[in-house]
Subunit: 371 residues, 2 copies
């Protein structure tokens, strides 16, 4: 089940089986001038990305899986097979009945098993520019982000790394970025529009005290510039040899980002935890990669309490306990706090209706009923 | 219940009560540099637009209600109130549990009553350009559309009017457009990016035999240029004084548009019906406005049969029986054909779970169970 099926170039859509990964699809598309942009970092399977509502670095421009899945083939708990938008259908928009597609996108395997996914494709941009810029404060970096979006710059990626993460990347990849909050940016478009996007962005970052604005156009130079961002996960792990990293994510309205990041950094320091922060800041979404010793149970407990405080901090700021990692087992209680008992009851009703024997990824998303 | 609540300018979001219409919200936002772009033509209420998953002319750039609703307050059949993304929450993305928001968007009032809607806002574009271009054939107009999208032009609106519709508009508004398939276009962006968007588009339309490419930048001139499109509904009605118009819509993959439009025009001629065609062609979505005499039952029957053939033609081309008008009462049987019995059973299961006594807009979307 690893075949790319039914590529329709003129219609910008393709259907894939569960074994097809993001990179495999983009390799398959190489000669067509099309690509599938959603990029969670890992080379995940696309059906898995649909099941978990994946997003990642360029969701600010291209959306998440929610916006890019046109149809799903799903095997239901009773063995029947449905197509969430009807078999073989692939209109770019529809008002035909309940939106089953987006009920299954992000359902984490708890409502059915996705066996085919029809995706929306995009034209490969004529050109790309990457840029990096250092800021005196988290506030200055986030203010720049808001202003760039307000100015209508169709930015493709805008990634935030905090000083701890930049320091880790400098050590890991022998780089010499200033150890301050930093934005990594990527622009997609025509040559001419890129000039304008870059100059508007540079103006905005400078007016917010951004320094060392570096940009690059050719692939090699762009990769060098973004190396720190690409290696962030490994750089975080390398901070304490032999350690593992526990990644958590939250998402808040843009204006709340500076406060939640500053408070979270204070929390880490107070609790003697190392947790570099990297964020898809154009969406208000960020990750904290808490480094921990897998043999130190007391530390694991402290990390657990920290992630709960982080999630509750996001909830108190009109945000969500998870912007893209999902609920799984770990955030079921937080989901109840986030949604309230009535909405949870609706979710449980949907689960009970579609999977009455609780066969599909049991125990995930929803807490078992109290006895 | 006609208040605009909780405008968050920096976060690009706002919450509205059911009485707030699209135009009222945009008037409210006038001084902020923000706007809500989804535009179904009519000055509909925004909660109603959420309930019906409205879209319209600029969905090709800004998406439909599905992509622009962040949260809903819904009164359920049992009187409980839920917030589909948790009370007061407005993150730009979330992976927290089942996507209740998009289950209610487009549910046509059959699952609950929407009493508040939180919407995503956009920066008002720095400048706008409108354009009109005539084509020798439907194929040439659609080929141009596909190529404009492939070239990555971030076009804001791309509307198709067929020869019958252009003729009606010419008569109604005393215009003199060539009576051929025509595209009405609108571009949003910075001054510089608009120059490039327009010149790329003009090049593409010319290479497809497009003629009379006219464009305008200032508001008055733009309105004059688009007058035909804006008046299309009234122009269609005026074709036969005293008549009414029956509007239907379908949506197919882009590449199938020329064939379905040509076949539909032949069908109209064969069945002696007048049905000008207007389409949101960037999405593969088009309307046929069939003019009919409300007192002529035989004609009404012919129109009914025509709309069923049109929907089945769309279904045979991997499309949907409704791209934006919804199912209501009229397309319930077509929805069954489109989705297949198993997916319909899933929809019925959702309805039965959330509204076991069938109190919410009963009879819409799903056919009653056969006795």
């Amino acid at each position: 089940m690893d075949q790319v099926l039914d590529l329709h170039q003129e219609d910008f859509d393709v259907t894939v089986e569960p074994g097809v990964t993001r990179k495999a699809l983009n390799a398959y598309l190489r000669e067509t001038g099309l690509w599938f942009p959603v990029d969670p970092g890992a080379d995940a399977s696309l059906c898995g990305m649909a099941a978990t509502s994946a997003s990642g670095t360029n969701a600010v421009r291209y959306g998440t899986m929610r916006e890019n899945v046109l149809n799903l083939e799903v095997v239901m708990a009773d063995g029947t097979v449905i197509h969430t938008a009807g078999k073989g259908r692939r209109p770019r928009k529809t008002s035909a009945g309940y939106n089953l597609t987006n009920l299954f996108v992000g359902s984490e395997g708890t409502l059915g098993i996705i066996t085919k996914t029809t995706l929306r494709l995009y034209g490969v941009p004529e050109a790309m520019v990457s840029a990096v810029c250092s800021f005196p404060s988290v506030q200055a970096a986030v203010d720049s982000t808001v202003q760039i979006l307000q100015a209508g710059v169709p930015i493709a990626r805008i990634e935030f790394l905090d000083d701890v993460m930049i320091d880790a990347c400098n050590r890991f990849s022998s780089l010499s970025y200033p150890v301050t909050p930093t934005l990594f940016l990527e622009f997609h478009g025509s040559e001419k529009s890129l000039e304008e996007q870059v100059s508007t962005t540079e103006e905005i970052t400078q007016s917010n005290g951004g320094a060392d604005f570096k940009w690059a156009t050719d692939t090699e130079e762009r990769n060098r510039l973004w190396k720190a961002r690409h290696d962030a996960w490994y750089a975080a792990l390398a901070l304490q040899p032999g350690c593992k990293a526990y990644a958590t994510d939250v998402c808040v309205p843009l204006s709340r980002l500076p406060q939640i990041i500053v408070e979270t950094k204070e929390d880490l320091i107070q609790n003697k935890l190392t947790g570099p922060i990297a964020g898809h800041v154009g969406d208000g979404n960020f990750h904290c990669l808490v480094v921990l010793d897998p043999n130190d149970q007391e530390e694991q407990h402290r990390v657990h309490l920290f992630t709960e405080r982080l999630a509750r901090r996001a909830l108190a700021m009109d945000g969500t306990c998870t912007g893209e990692h999902g609920v799984g087992l770990g955030k079921r209680a937080l989901l109840c706090e986030e949604m309230g008992p009535m909405a949870i009851q609706v979710m449980q009703g949907l689960k009970d209706t579609l999977d009455p024997k609780n066969l599909m990824n049991p125990g995930k998303i929803l807490l078992p009923a109290e006895l």
